[in-house]
């Protein structure tokens, strides 16, 4: 997504700067973010369906394509989530402590998930 900033009284301005160009849109940065979310969702669904067909057509490369598909879709989902948190939840305007409040449980959950993924499907044989 293009770098976006907004002007004057921040949340109330309808003027947004995209790649150095000022544009006026009702709703300002919030509308731009919504359009970006919608476009990313379309890209996400089309990519998933396209790669699903490619996996079906190329069973030999299925593992690699599955990995590419998962990585691509997760990257898009993280970008979408970040847009919502950063702009709609106004994390960019808040004290950095709130970012820590959000990231700490994510870190703990992430580490726990990695631990769980390492357990063999049948469990450990003792």
């Amino acid at each position: 997504m293009a770098q976006a900033t907004h002007h004057e009284d921040g949340h109330h301005s309808n003027t947004v700067t995209l790649r150095g160009r000022q544009i006026t849109v009702e709703g300002g940065i919030y509308t731009v973010v919504f359009v970006a979310l919608a476009i990313l969702t379309v890209i996400e669904v089309l990519s998933a369906e396209g790669l699903k067909a490619a996996i079906y057509d190329n069973p030999d490369a299925a593992a690699a394509l599955e990995a590419i598909k998962a990585a691509l879709l997760l990257i898009i989902a993280v970008i979408k989530s970040t847009l919502v948190i950063w702009f709609y939840m106004h994390l960019r305007d808040e004290h950095p402590l709130l970012a820590v409040v959000l990231l700490l449980p994510l870190l703990i959950a992430g580490l726990s998930i990695l631990y769980l993924l390492a357990i063999p499907p049948g469990g450990y044989s003792l």
Binding site: H11, H12, G27, Y30, T31, V33, F34, L37, A38, T41, E44, V45, A48, E49, K52, K69, A70, L73, L74, I76, A77, K80, S81, V84, I85, F87, Y88, M89, E94, H95, L97, L98, V101, L102, L104, P105, L106, I108, A109, G110, S112, I113, L116, L117, P121
Partner: protein, 211 residues
Amino acid sequence: MAELTADQLTAPAHDDHGHLSVEDSNNNLKLGVWLYLASEVVIFSIMIVGYVLLRINEPDVVAEAHEQLGVGLVTANTFVLLASSFFMVMGLRAMQQGNRAGMLRWIGLTALGGIVFLCGQYIEYSELSHLGIVLGYDLESQWSTLGMRFYAPTFFHGAHVFVGVLWALEVMRRGAKGRYDNNPIGIEMFGLYWHFVDVVWIMLFTLIYLV
């Protein structure tokens, strides 16, 4: 949550009785909501990892479910929830601009988005039950391992949307009485919750329906 009184709204940073300034009080309330959301992150993460483990260990079951379901309905539902998040932030913006009528309109649309989402989820669950994907554990069914892993995160999320709709209606009731005219923190707190529910769905949509 406690509403600020008119005296508190016009008070200096700290008055003789030790009341916090409006700004400090708002910051404390927002920190409280963020801490609550942090606890939700952990709960949803546990449910998501349960599904991810199934996805890794039994890819054929998940692929078959994807094949049966398709992504049309859930994609439409995703757009509805994304739009409701946009309506929400526009409602807060309207109130910050002193536009109470605009706020009521936007928050009303937010609630409507939540209701439409829940209707879509009901339709999806009906289709799933026709396919035999249910909560019960049936050894004869190929879906027995999928049911709980799928319903736990999606139903828990749906319950959050339901609570959000009720909260939106309460915000509208209070807003109509002018409770947020001087301090829209109540709308902002609801917004944090609603956007979080949207973020959770963004991840669930990708992990459960697309990957």
